[in-house]
């Protein structure tokens, strides 16, 4: 059975023929579209390494069947930097040592961006830790991750105010 979807990935609309409805968004990105920045950790929605934005909201791509995404907009870690300029969340993770081995980092960054867009945690470290609890870091870089999300929240807030002024 063949299914086709038209899905915008990092700003580019693609018509994708799926030969099997079992393909998850995670496997579509990694195995078929060459976007291997999104990581496979547990593959069961427990670790957060596969986090991407779908229609601006963070989700676990391992539990999302690609066939459900006709008309959707997907943003992955590859879609954040503008040419050579890192996204503020990426820059904040580097400045605050928000990682060690780096495997969970794309998922952490996409989840952090999703959390900031949700707009409810602000720069409160307790709300950030709770809001990021769906992303596991085996290296336990949580202290730096929390600082990075605080810093990115303030920076994006300031940029938004600057844009509005």
């Amino acid at each position: 059975m063949s299914l086709s979807i038209s899905t915008t990935i990092n700003g580019t609309t693609r018509d994708i023929a799926l030969d099997d409805p079992r393909v998850t968004l995670l496997d579509l990105l990694r195995e078929r579209l060459g976007l291997s920045g999104t990581k496979k950790g547990c593959d069961r929605g427990q670790c957060g390494a596969c986090t991407v934005l779908v229609d601006g909201r963070r989700v676990n791509s391992c539990l999302t069947l690609a066939a459900t995404l006709d008309g959707a907009e997907v943003t992955t870690i590859e879609g954040l930097a503008q040419d050579d300029a890192l996204h503020p969340v990426q820059a904040a993770f580097i400045e605050n040592d928000g990682f060690q081995c780096g495997y969970c980092t794309p998922g952490q960054i996409m989840s952090a961006l999703g959390l900031i867009l949700e707009g409810e945690a602000g720069d409160d470290p307790e709300r950030i830790r709770e809001g990021m609890s769906g992303n596991i870091c085996r290296c336990a870089a949580y202290h730096g991750i929390t600082l990075a999300v605080q810093s990115a929240t303030r920076r994006m807030d300031a940029e938004q105010k600057g844009d509005a002024a």
Partner: protein, 350 residues
């Protein structure tokens, strides 16, 4: 994952028509897709209902009643201003469950029909009467933390893992169902089934039926000022409950006019305790009263495994939730929703 047909209906009628024995409706997929990966569920057809129209509205009426579409995502339900105002413990329960990513995907209808997190149910290689009637129960004598202490049977000792359903049952919510033989509505309290001899019948849904909405009755919002959900778990966040409790009061001056108390993760359904509610009604709130109500809440509890400790934990969780409800719904959702570490006067040991 076993192969399946994938269908994308555009209306409830088309979805119902697409159903066949062995088919599954797909909402957010956070439970279904996971269990398809483990092999615990093997639907031959998956019916994607996420694009059905008119199932995503939240309508709260002036009398405190509401109709909430089955496709409303958990995250959207939890942050809807009218839900926070009218049923704050529903939002608190939602926010204590899963992760930000999962709440963005998971739907209201899917939450109601989610499966137990019994490890032996989810492991396709373990014996499980719930998954495979007559196969036996490997959970007996196994890991006991999330097993039942109330309403279990020789055939099954699993619990319902939903946080959301606990305050919904406390508030007398009902379920609106569409099916091949027409629509019907039933109390959520009667929707989840105790295992008895037929644990595979986890809910009252008949083959092919689909949840289309949830209803809150008039008066449900009267409990908004004293309503809390408390969830005790092995981690601070992102874990299923060992025991949880939804407690709410409608105060009349300094007295409790009416009370609601429901325990979660202790049975195959949210465990409403009307004896405790009756005992609380008309009384002045105090610790001794709450202890009597908690005793009523756990009357009849029995370990299903090496989990007798859950009975005492449930009793203490009920007391703590009642105290939290008595001190009032906080103005802002706590940073750690439903947490025993939340701010409250130093817990008295009772």
């Amino acid at each position: 994952m076993r192969p399946f047909d994938f269908v994308r209906p555009n209306s409830v009628a088309e979805a119902l028509a697409a159903w066949e024995p062995g088919a599954a409706y797909l909402g957010g997929g956070t439970n279904l897709v996971d269990l398809m990966k483990t092999g615990a569920l093997r639907p031959g057809r998956v019916i994607d209902i996420t694009r059905l129209p008119d199932l995503s509205a939240i309508e709260v009426a002036a009398d405190g009643s509401a109709r909430i579409g089955a496709l409303v995502r958990n995250a959207d339900l939890a942050r809807a201003a009218e839900i926070l105002r009218a049923y704050p413990m529903v939002a608190e329960a939602l926010l204590s469950g899963a992760s930000g990513q999962l709440r963005n995907a998971a739907t209201l209808g899917g939450n109601l029909v989610q499966h137990t997190r019994c490890a032996y149910f989810m492991d396709a290689h373990a014996a499980c009467n719930r998954r495979d009637p007559g196969a036996g129960c490997d959970a007996r004598g196994g890991a006991a933390d999330n097993m039942a202490i109330l309403g279990h049977s020789p055939a099954c000792i699993a619990t319902n893992p939903s946080d959301l359903c606990v305050p919904l049952v406390a508030l007398d919510a009902s379920v609106e169902i569409a099916g091949p033989d027409g629509g019907r509505e039933m109390p959520l309290a009667a929707f989840h089934m105790l295992p008895g001899d037929t644990p595979s019948e986890a809910t009252a849904l008949r083959p092919g039926e689909l949840i289309v909405a949830l209803h809150m009755p008039p008066g449900a919002a009267d409990f908004a000022h004293h309503a809390r959900y408390l969830k005790v778990r092995e981690r601070t966040s992102y874990a299923f409950a060992l025991v949880s409790a939804a407690a709410a009061f409608r105060m009349e001056g300094a007295r409790i006019g009416a009370a609601r108390l429901t325990l979660g993760s202790v049975a195959a359904k949210p465990w409403r305790i009307e004896e405790a509610e009756d005992l609380l009604a008309g009384q002045m709130p105090d610790d001794a009263l709450f202890a009597r109500a908690a005793d009523a809440a756990t009357a009849g509890a029995a370990p299903s495994n090496d989990n007798a400790w859950k009975i005492e934990l449930a009793r203490r969780t009920a007391i703590r939730a009642l105290k939290m409800a008595a001190s009032g719904t906080p103005d802002r959702m706590p940073a750690l929703p439903a947490s025993p570490f939340g701010a409250l006067e130093a817990p008295a040991h009772v």
